[in-house]
């Protein structure tokens, strides 16, 4: 099938349903929307209870609308410190993991080399191993080497589990990569670095952006691995998990909402930017 036919298939209007499909016409869309509501429900609850005018730390029943918690979002010192740690770790993790992961993805997608199977297997194992195992293995090593646990060990762990995801994302982008473009640049006298900057990088850039966003999201969200290597340092998810026993204060809902909106905003911006490039 040629590219044009493929495009035509995708552009083609959906077939008109036959008479015989009386119930299937609405059952599946209604079902899909119900599942989507189920998926979104906890998010709505989180956002709503950030506006709850609760007097105590217990944020369980609706007491009326307030914007108080948005004003006082950083009034809890320990929670704010944890939130700051999370953001700082996520930014640093994204920077390092994106560079290392892009290099891995480039090597795997662009070249054929000895030991490629081994690297592939290592990445596959790192992605498919449960977080619990990644966390406990690192903890075992830190215990054995008597490494003090804290901010740095969290950072090291986050970079470790993000690198493989970035690598896979970038490699997926390399799938349709046309090597002759690079060769053309070199034939026209570009040195390898210029070729990379002017030809390769722009072509794989969407993959790198997607990988970076994924790394940022994974790092911000991580609880399980962090819980084994954090020592006394708290991150946002660690603090929230610790607070579940006494009740989670509304500031957590506010921070969760702000993170949610930032994430959605970034993702939408990325999609819009991609569409622009295509036009």
């Amino acid at each position: 099938m040629t590219v044009l036919e493929e495009a035509a298939r995708r552009e083609a209007p959906p077939q008109t349903p036959r008479r015989t499909r009386r119930w299937t016409g609405w059952v599946l869309p209604v079902y899909t929307w119900l599942v989507i509501i189920y998926l979104v429900l906890p998010i709505m609850v989180m956002i709503a209870f950030g506006f709850n005018d609760t007097k105590s730390r217990l944020n369980l029943t609706w007491q009326g609308l307030t914007f108080h918690w948005y004003r006082d979002v950083f009034s809890n010192a320990a929670l704010s410190a944890a939130f700051r740690n999370t953001l700082l770790i996520a930014v640093l993790t994204t920077a390092v993991a994106t560079v290392l992961g892009t290099m891995l993805g480039l090597a795997l997608g662009r070249y054929r080399f000895r030991g490629q199977g081994g690297v592939d297997l290592l990445i596959f194992a790192a992605i498919s191993a449960p977080e619990l195992v990644l966390g406990t293995a690192l903890l075992s090593m830190f215990i054995t080497l008597r490494v003090p646990r804290g901010f740095l060990t969290i950072l090291v762990a986050h970079i470790m589990f993000c690198v493989s995801f970035v690598a896979v994302t970038v490699r997926a982008r390399m799938a349709g990569f046309d090597v002759s473009l690079e060769e053309a640049a070199q034939d026209l006298g570009a040195d390898p670095w210029t070729t990379f900057r002017k030809v390769t990088l722009p072509l794989i850039f969407p993959g790198i952006m997607a990988g970076a966003l994924l790394a940022f999201a994974l790092s911000i969200d991580d609880y399980i691995i962090t819980s084994f290597v954090n020592g006394q340092t708290e991150t946002f998810p660690i603090w929230v998990f610790g607070a579940t026993r006494q009740g989670v204060p509304p500031q957590v809902n506010v921070m969760g909402t702000l993170l949610f909106l930032t994430g959605v905003g970034l993702a939408v911006a990325n999609v819009v930017a991609l569409r622009r490039r295509k036009l």
Partner: protein, 290 residues
């Protein structure tokens, strides 16, 4: 082409792989070996640990905690089954009838990922609480007994796990279904296949890679999770992850903890690789990554 870039080209992949590869080796591969070694040591935190090849730690670990291990695998199997049943019709409808709004639907399915895993689970704790927004009204209407509760039951833990890992099931299913050319289904119907036959003999087999990837992406993290069991569960729903966390961080029994963790990893990895072999890692990774 000049000789220089060609020489560089031979070295280039190795230079590119080196930093990331070393990072993974130093903080994933070697730690796993250290964990295996730690599980074969004996001693205490005060006196230090020495490698004594004490294999009996493994038999101790399993005889002590087989209940939690079996419970984790059972929960995870139920969760994977539920997620598959919930996700398939949805992925099918979006792939074949989503039209131009396919990516919008996918975006909605991905929305939970923009909220922290722990907060999502706390949200469910809140929704399911004894006098919460679901049980409260039902109780005041007299439809449920006053002492009816969902939290601290297996149902709550399984429900929470299913919720948290559902998108991991939907996405690979969608990717594999979306790849199927509708013309194939038309061909089947031209050859007098009924709707059901067309589904069972054309669509279902072609979507199996997605089913495999989805099962993998759901089963492994669900079996090793302890966040849902802690927040939504009770004493009767402890999973192996809870045990491992307690042994490492509270009881400081490192050999026992590493033995448990290693057993879990071995069990899951053997399953994963058997799975991937039946299918080829490329395809599983490809579908999972896409």
């Amino acid at each position: 082409m000049s000789a220089r870039p060609r020489a560089g080209r031979k070295l280039a992949p190795y230079l590119l792989v080196l930093p990331g590869g070393l990072w993974l080796a130093a903080f994933f591969l070697i730690p796993t070996v250290v964990m295996l070694s730690l599980s074969l040591q004996s001693g205490s935190v005060e006196e230090g640990f020495r490698l004594t090849w004490r294999v009996s730690t493994y038999t101790d670990a399993i005889s002590l905690y087989h209940t939690q291990l079996v419970r984790s695998l059972t929960y995870s199997a139920v969760v994977t089954g539920l997620a598959l049943v919930v996700a398939y019709p949805m992925a099918y409808w979006i792939a074949f009838h989503g039209g131009s709004r396919k990516s919008s639907y996918l975006f909605l399915i991905l929305l939970p990922f923009f909220v922290s895993f722990v907060i999502r689970t706390v949200s469910w704790q809140f929704i399911l609480s004894d006098q919460g927004i679901v049980l409260g009204p039902l109780k005041s209407l007299g439809l449920l007994a006053e002492d009816f509760h969902l939290l601290a039951t297996s149902a709550a833990v399984i429900g929470g796990l299913t919720y948290n890992f559902l998108p991991f099931m939907v996405l690979p299913l969608y990717v594999s279904l979306e790849r199927i050319y509708p013309t194939l289904v038309e061909a089947a119907s031209d050859l007098y296949a009924s709707k059901a036959q067309g589904f069972l003999r054309v669509i279902l087999p072609l979507s199996l890679p997605g089913v495999f990837a989805g099962v993998l992406l759901t089963f492994v993290p669900a079996a090793a999770d302890f966040v849902n069991a802690t927040i939504l569960g009770g004493p009767g729903t402890t999973m192996i992850g809870n045990v491992i966390q307690t042994e490492y961080l509270t009881n400081l029994d490192y050999p026992l903890a590493s033995a448990l963790s290693f057993t879990l990893m071995a069990a899951l990895l053997i399953g994963v690789f058997a799975y991937a072999r039946a299918l080829g890692t490329e395809e599983v990774l490809e579908v999972s990554a896409a």
